[in-house]
Every structure is written in C-alpha cells, then in structure tokens.
Symmetry: C2
Subunit: 456 residues, 2 copies
C-alpha cells in the first residue's frame, strides 16, 4: 500500500516529537538580552530543519536584533504560492515557581506537551515544516509553491520582520499567507480566525522628587512618583472598564450583524470561561457587550506591570522618586494606532499630577486586521479543516494581535489564513503553557492537505 499523509505522519511521529522537544529546550526568550545566543540557536535549528525537509534557498537573515529564517520551494508553475509564517521566539517564563515542570524541559502529561512556546508558537510553526517534509517525502514535490519566513521577535514587537517585509515585496510575493498561531474555538471544532485586534504597547515613567525621600520628614508636602502614576492610570479607565482617553472609541467599527449573530451560536459558556480559563470570582469589562464582543471587537487598556519605590521584604519609609508602568491598548478595526498614541500622550499630559513628570515610550504598535471569508484560500482551508476534524468550520476572531498579518496585507497585498491548532486553555504567556499532542499531529496532516487541495 502506498504511503499517505496519514501513514507518513504516523510512521514518523516519534521523530516529529523528538525534534519539537529539541526546539522547545532552547530558551529563545527574545525580550531578555541574556538569551540572545539561545534565540540564535533556535533560528539555526529552524533553518537546518527546513533544509532537511527539502526546502531550498534556506537563509538565516541577520537583522538589527534577532534573525529571520527564509526558505522557498518554487517548482509548481501555474500553482498558487503560500507564504508560511511563524515565530521561534517565546515569552519569558516567569513566575518560574508556578511551573509544575521546568519551562524549557518539555514534559508529556495527560496528552499535553508542557513547555514555554509549546503552543505559542514553536509547536504550531514546526507543523508547517513537517507538513512540507511529509509531502516532499511522499511525492518528491509540492502541490503549490511555498515560501517560509520565520521570525524571532514576535514577542517583542516584530520590528525586524516588519522592515523586511516592507523592503522585500518581490522576494516574498505570494497569493496567501498561512499562520498557525491561534487556537481552535474549542476542542474538536475546526476554527479559522478572520479578525485580530491590534496592539499598542507602551511604557510610562513617572518621576517626582529628585531622590527617594523620608516619608516622615516630607510626607504631606512632597509629591510621590508611585502615587502620581497610580492617580493617572486610575483616571485612564473607569471602574466599569470604559477607557477615558478622549476619542478612543471614535473610529471603532462594530462587527456586521451577521457576524455578531454567528458568535451567538458558538458554544460559549460564561461560567466555564470564568471558572476554567480566567479563574477569578467575576468577569469585568464594558457593560452592554457580550464577553466575545469585549475580547474580540472592543478596544481595551491594560496595565501589564508596575514597579516603583521599595518592594523588598519588610518596611522602608520612602517617598519614591520614580515609578514605571507597562500599558497597552488593544485596537479593533477602524482604529488608527497613531491617533490612539496621540490621544494617550495628551491624556497623560493633562493628567500629570503637580510636582511630577511623566514620559511615554511606545514600544510597538499595529492596527487590527479582518480577512475576507470569501477568499479562495479561506474556503479551501475551511473545507479541509472540516474534513479532517469531521465538523463544520467556524469563523471567529481573536482578541490577540499578530502584527505581521497587517504587514502582509499592506506590503504584499495578500490575506492570511489563520489556521491554528491551540486550545483556549493552553496558557499562552502563562506558567504551564501546554500544547495538545494530538493537535500537533492533526495540524501537520491538515496543513499538508491544505497544500494539496489549494494546489488542485
């Protein structure tokens, strides 16, 4: 019996997993300079595996920060070209003490691979490489033309790939991009994501007295940098979750009625979402919007971290001179990043307490994305996905941001198929991040089939 996609993946499943483990063991944390050499090692690993799979023109492309990995296979004249994107960098693993097993020692438990980056995005990016290997091994050729562009800065804003895409439209020219960095709506439900929120990530620094002061001697007369920052931040979003930065809601485009309707038919339980995913005593957010609207189609402001003054053990009675906060805004379709940044700058200026100074630094920013569900690649993907999992494919959005999808749209003029195999409780960016082992293999098979069907 001739080998099929199914049998090839089955016959090679141990090696496919061993290779992924090898990649997961590399602590390629892009935001921490002390891990720069790990990031470089991960890039080299990806390049080597593209080469072994049979891809051509494999390149490690140096950038101002972390390298890109490019490869192509362009021997299917008349067939469409797919640009595969993924990232080999990961978020920091802290707080380390909350991990049940070490973040960079992948461990299989209850059918899940536990490791930082298992779902976001090493495990998913690597499926593309194994899908290509499978087809080339079976047939000696691919049914479509394929390019790969894999980055190492996704978790730190993706500046280098954005520049590269803008500067190399001819080299990267394709009919569609394929990205696996999203999740199934729910276990077993084939899901294509056709909308992503944008993101502006900033750092606000507040300074007050010229040095930390004794709070007994100066308390009551000297400005306090931590309290000033607390005051400003508290004014930027009210207790109901409504952002107070003027103009922030002006350009928001609401989803079409049909899309909103389809969300109502998704098997969503607010109780399960609260208990199994969020794990707090109540949800928050804007009144008058459903949870899915709040996380998919409404802008947000979040404080990701705050630090200032004395935070060691015990007591130190200082009036702190400095404090900083990491603050982001998620954007929905219609919102213009530059306008949001300008609005936040103005808000800070007008709400800086007396005796203090505030500075805003924008670390990254990109708009929201929506993809036309009638594009042929989306139709093929929806069909293949439904066949593989045996259920109709649902079209959703994600509240997260994949800035590269915007760059592909604006610089290459192509849409992106967001075909991810994660699960909602994978714990991306959290301790004990996991990726379901079955979904790793299902993903490889589904992507190989997508290439096949898209090439028909």
């Amino acid at each position: 019996m001739a080998s099929t996609i199914e049998s090839y993946v089955r016959d090679n499943q141990t090696r496919f997993l061993d290779e992924l483990y090898e990649l997961l063991r590399i602590a390629s944390i892009s935001t921490l300079p002390e891990h720069n050499s790990d990031v470089a090692r991960a890039a080299a690993f990806v390049a080597a595996k593209l080469n072994t799979a049979g891809m051509e023109n494999v390149e490690i492309i140096p950038t101002a920060r972390h390298p890109l990995v490019y490869a192509d296979w362009l021997h299917a004249p008349g067939k469409p070209t797919v640009l595969c994107y993924g990232h080999y960098d990961v978020q920091p693993p802290d707080p380390l003490e909350l991990w049940n097993t070490p973040p960079f020692e992948p461990t299989l438990r209850d059918g899940n691979i536990y490791a930082r980056g298992s779902a976001d995005d090493k495990g998913q990016m690597y499926m593309h490489i194994k899908a290509v290997e499978t087809l080339l091994a079976l047939h000696g050729k691919l049914p479509v033309n394929v390019k790969f562009l894999i980055e190492g800065e996704e978790e730190v804003g993706g500046e280098s790939i954005a520049k590269y895409v803008a500067a190399n439209p001819a080299k990267l020219q394709a009919d569609v991009a394929l990205v696996s960095d999203t999740a199934l709506y729910k276990e077993g439900i084939p899901t294509l994501c056709i909308g992503l929120r944008g993101l502006i990530y900033t750092e606000v620094e507040c300074s007050a007295p010229s040095r930390d002061l004794h709070s007994g001697l100066y308390g009551g007369a000297a400005p306090n940098a931590v309290f000033a920052l607390v005051e400003m931040l508290s004014k930027a979003k009210n207790a109901a979750g409504i952002i107070q930065v003027p103009g922030i809601y002006d350009d928001v485009q609401a989803p079409a009625a049909a899309e909103l309707d389809s969300w109502k038919n998704l098997p969503f339980s607010e109780e399960e979402f609260l208990a199994n995913e969020v794990g707090s005593s109540a949800l928050t957010g804007e009144p008058g919007y459903s949870v899915l609207e709040r996380v998919w189609a409404r802008p947000t402001m979040e404080v990701h971290g705050i630090a200032g003054g004395f935070t060691g053990a015990g007591a130190k009675t200082v009036i702190p001179a400095k404090a900083t906060a990491k603050v982001s805004f998620r954007l929905v379709p219609g919102m213009v990043p530059e306008k949001v940044i300008a609005g936040f700058e103005k808000f800070i200026r007008e709400n800086t307490p007396a005796g203090t100074k505030m500075t805003l630094r924008v670390l990254s920013g990109g708009p929201a994305i929506v993809v036309n569900p009638d594009h042929p690649a989306i139709s093929v993907a929806a069909r293949v996905f439904a066949e593989t999992l045996g259920r109709p494919t649902v079209l959703t959005r994600s509240g997260g941001s994949i800035p590269i999808v915007g760059d592909f749209a604006s610089h290459l003029g192509i849409p992106t198929v967001l075909m991810g195999f994660g699960l909602p409780d994978d714990g991306l960016h959290s301790p004990n991040e996991k990726y379901k082992l079955d979904n790793y293999y299902t993903g490889i098979r589904t992507i190989a089939r997508f290439f096949e069907q898209y090439g028909v």
Copy 2:
C-alpha cells in the same frame, strides 16, 4: 591646664572618627535577612565600645530578631537617671547606582561624612557613648546615673525593644530618656523636637485571575490585579492629598495656637524647601495648611512601593494575577492606631474591584508623641544647647516617627529629650546620606554638658 570636655574631644577627634567609620562600614541592614550577621556585628561593636568607655553591666540581649545592647553606670546617688537610646541598624542603601561613593565605605567630602547610617542613627547614637567616655575619662565618674538601651530593629518596626521595655520597667527605670535621632531645624540653630508623628506601615496584596493571562485573549473580560490595586489606592487619597479613608481625621488634635505661632517665626522658606530638599517642580498636600503643619501636624497616606506583573525590559502582554503595595499612614496626636487600621481595612473591603481579592498585612504601628516643654530635662537641654551653639533653642516637631518614645512614655512613664544634630538635607533613607563632621563633635560636647548640668 586641666583637661576640659572641649580639650578631651579635640585631643581624641581622630580616634572618635575612626571608631565611627568602623561602625559605619558594617552593613547592618535590619530588613534584609542576608545581612543578619552584619547586624549582629554592629551590636557587638556597640557593646565593646560601651565597655571601653567605662559603662558597666554591658549586655547583648538576644531577641526574636536583632539583639539589644544594654549598659549602665549607677554610682550617682540622689542624681537623676538618664536612659540613652539609639539604634545601630540602617535602611537598605538602594538604589545603589545613585550613591557617589559606596554606602558602607564612609567618605569625608566638604566636611560631611557620607555613608548609610551616618546621620540615621549610628553617627548620633555613637555621640552618647563618646560623651560618657569623655566624662569618665576626665572625672572618673558621671554627674548623673546613665543607662543605655540600643536597638537593631528601628528601621523594621522595633518590635523587640517594644516588648523588652514593656517587660522590664524596673530595670529601665529612669527620669528621662535621651534620643539623638532628629535634626537641627537649620544649620547652627539649636533645636529640641517635642512632637513626633506616629506610623502604621502595611502591605496590601491584590490577586485577580488565578494565573497571569494573555492580555489579547482575555483583555476586556478578565480582572487585572495591578489595575485593581491602582483603582483602590487612587480612591484612598484624592488629588488634593486629602485621605478618603472614612473617619481618619476624626480624632486629629490640632497644635495649640501658641505652638502654631512659634512655627511661623521659624526661618522657613518654601522655595528653598522645594528646591534644596524635595527637588521637584511643586509641593503637594492638603490645601489650607502650611508646609510645616502638613509635615508635622497632619496625617498622611503614602505608597512606598508597588510591584506587580511584568516589569523587565521590553514587552510582555500579560494580565497580571498579583500585585502588592507598601502603604503607610503617619498619625498625629489624638489618632488611635487601631482605629486607623480598622478604617483602612474597611475601606479596602468596600473598594475591592469585582473579581479581585485584597489582603492587608500590618507590619508595624505606633501613635504620635508630644513632650511637655516645661519638664526640667527639656529646660536644661534647651539651655545647654543654646550655650553650645550661641543661639536660642527652638522647639519643633518632626514628621517622622520614633516609636520607642511612645513606649518610654507608656511603660516607663518618662518623657524623652529629642536632641538631634542632623541637618534637614542629610538624606536619611536616601542615597548619599551624610552627617556633618562638626556636628558629630558638637553633639558629643553638648551631650556631655547636658549630663553635667542635669546633674547639678
């Protein structure tokens, strides 16, 4: 010519300074467990020097945390007894990078000793020991009975000495306590402090989701621990500096009209205070009160430090699960610590945002203190101080807290002479803390004279 206090101090000035340097080199940071052995070394140093000075019954008294040092000399029958108090522990030196010379390598520049603890309180506490040495060396006896009780937990709440004083009133019985842990109102102006604010120091912890969450996937629906803490804290004090914890101002006793009048005659310049001490662009605090009233006679709430979420370099898009803040209240006469704590607990309970939990931990607490200016020891101290510096002594308050003064009042029934030789810009608790070298020697001479005159 017979030796005098002046000539003895002059003849021994190099040794007096070398000894102080030796003490300042010991990093006796009481709040950091990794410095426990340094704290113990500082206690041993103090005990040894009390012994060499001629004090008797020198004891290092173990406690639950850092040791006390006791000594006495009780051979002046019919004369009053002075209980000398000081502390040999210091605040942490961070932020280290702001020190011009290392905090634990005392350095003389422009007539000042730069080192952590130089003014607060090693340099001042050590003057007492050298004053006793001077008198015993000159006369073979002291003009009054003297006891020493030196602690190593002043910067962490002073729990052990509070217990010890409460448990040993007979051993510590005295007519007055002498404390040098305050500052001259201004260079050259003899100053006795007759009022201190109290202090309640707390830690507030907020928890929201059960783990850090991806802010894209959950932003808009999940509670954020940092933002919840920011919201609660911002409500606890308004932009005008008025504390919003209900009942906090109910028991505040305003200073008498005569005391308020005397403050108006002090050479205080708001411009100089702002420029030379605070170093910000404006002062803050309750409208309708002068700066001196705000720092000496009004309660305050300060946030000393805050930490939560991701605060490393770069970007991490988490909704943080936990955040903590160090929060204190300064109390003025009339205010009852237990009532303030209960009020803050209630305020937190009523202002905890939906989906989050807050816990309050009280690290230390003590009431404000006022001393009767007509007490004989205060009169003698004022006269001697005026003679030494050649100007009339002014009576002030301090916004800081010296909890032991309250313990001496309640358990031993004695007032405290607060005769300090620091300067307002000494930078207590700040980088580049200093103590003026001249004031070290002047302090030794003035304290020796105080013993002489109080014994007449």
